[in-house]
């Protein structure tokens, strides 16, 4: 068993863990964390693929590396956006709860126009 295989299996396990967490965790923040775990498993898989393609004096194929860097940036922006949404929801639902049930936001008719 070579090192690449070890990390390949590790990546597969991280994907499985992330999926399980994303499905079963009721808290949105935990879902976001599980998504990040899942993402890191996928990125590791790219890394393993690149490592297997080591050639021409490169220890790791540069193309998958570049894809991973792009992917990490995208995943990070997604995390930031999701957390911003979450904090805003926390804030608004807290203020709705404080101002009582009679607030206009609860009117079932007003779901957009």
């Amino acid at each position: 068993m070579s090192g690449v295989t070890v990390f390949g299996l590790c990546a597969a396990a991280a994907v499985g863990l992330g999926l399980y967490g994303l499905i079963t965790n009721p808290q949105p923040l935990r879902k976001i964390i599980a998504f990040n775990l899942l993402g890191s498993g996928v990125f590791l898989l790219f890394g393993v693929v690149g490592r297997r393609g080591a050639a021409a004096g490169m220890g790791n194929d540069p193309v998958p590396q570049a894809l991973v860097i792009t992917g990490v940036v995208v995943a990070f922006s997604a995390t930031a956006l999701a957390i911003a949404l979450l904090l805003r929801l926390f804030q608004t639902s807290a203020s709705v709860a404080r101002s009582g049930r009679a607030s206009p936001g609860d009117d079932p008719d007003q779901v957009g126009g």
Binding site: A14, V15, Q27, L29, V48, A54, A56, G59, V72
Partner: protein, 314 residues
Amino acid sequence: MSIETVIEIVLAAVVLTLGVWTIVVPETFSATVGFVAYGLLVALIWVRLDAADVALTEAAIGGGLGGVLLLGAAARLRDADMMADARPGKLLRAGAAALSVLTAAVLAGVVLLLPDPAPTLAPAAVANAWATGLSNPVTNVLMAFRAMDTMLEKVVLLLAIIGVWSLAPDSAWGGRPGPRHQADPRGVLAFLARLLPPVGIVIGIYILWTGSDHPGGAFQGGAILASMWLLAIMAGLADTPLVSHRSVRFILVAGPGLFLLVGLAGLLFGAAFLSYPPALAKPLILGIEIAMTLTIAATLGLLLAGAPERSTEP
């Protein structure tokens, strides 16, 4: 089994243990800390996979910004059960576990089945490095061969900013994100915030500059600069800027803007969109990277700062 393999197994086991901890531990806060630790250790795996560029990215994101983002949210949302879905029943959880294990097993099988020798683009990337004059092939892929992806990704970052800002209350639109932080000017935090940023800025610029020939580059450098800015903000030494300020807006689009302009210049005068004339390739790419570093630093900083909360009046 060589000793290297043993080490790799130990490393993978530690990382996976942290992963399991992150998923199964009941308190959200512990899970978050576990994930930050996980992210830091994954950087080790990337070094072991000889992908130092990615390792740097993971270290900057996982160690600095990701940790700040997740821990900050976890600390604020501590007891926020009101947003949670219903907890799935035991049967559903068992089913989900079985399916996840099955998926992981299928993936593991596929990984073991990958062809040997593996197909690769490494020789092609190395052979075409002449076109840019940069000897870090990852930078070449990001800035030349697959420049389109990089440009679109920068637009994704900008959209994320717009998405975060769109959550502002109407009254605070155009104002400053987040609360005004305060700290004792003689305290530990202020001391750190005075000492660390100069060092950090030097390191950030070094990572950017070294990226043309060695692992490093715009994103990693920008992430470090963003962290330093956030440190100053958290210590109360600086305030978040007004998001309606023209110069803020300009910095946020400088990177993709310059990228697009250079690309269109290539379309008009050169060989193709996003092609660089060989003589000018290196300075052009460096110029774009410098602009992108600034943009990334500002973008990441503002992404973490959140939606505008304080209106334009001071």
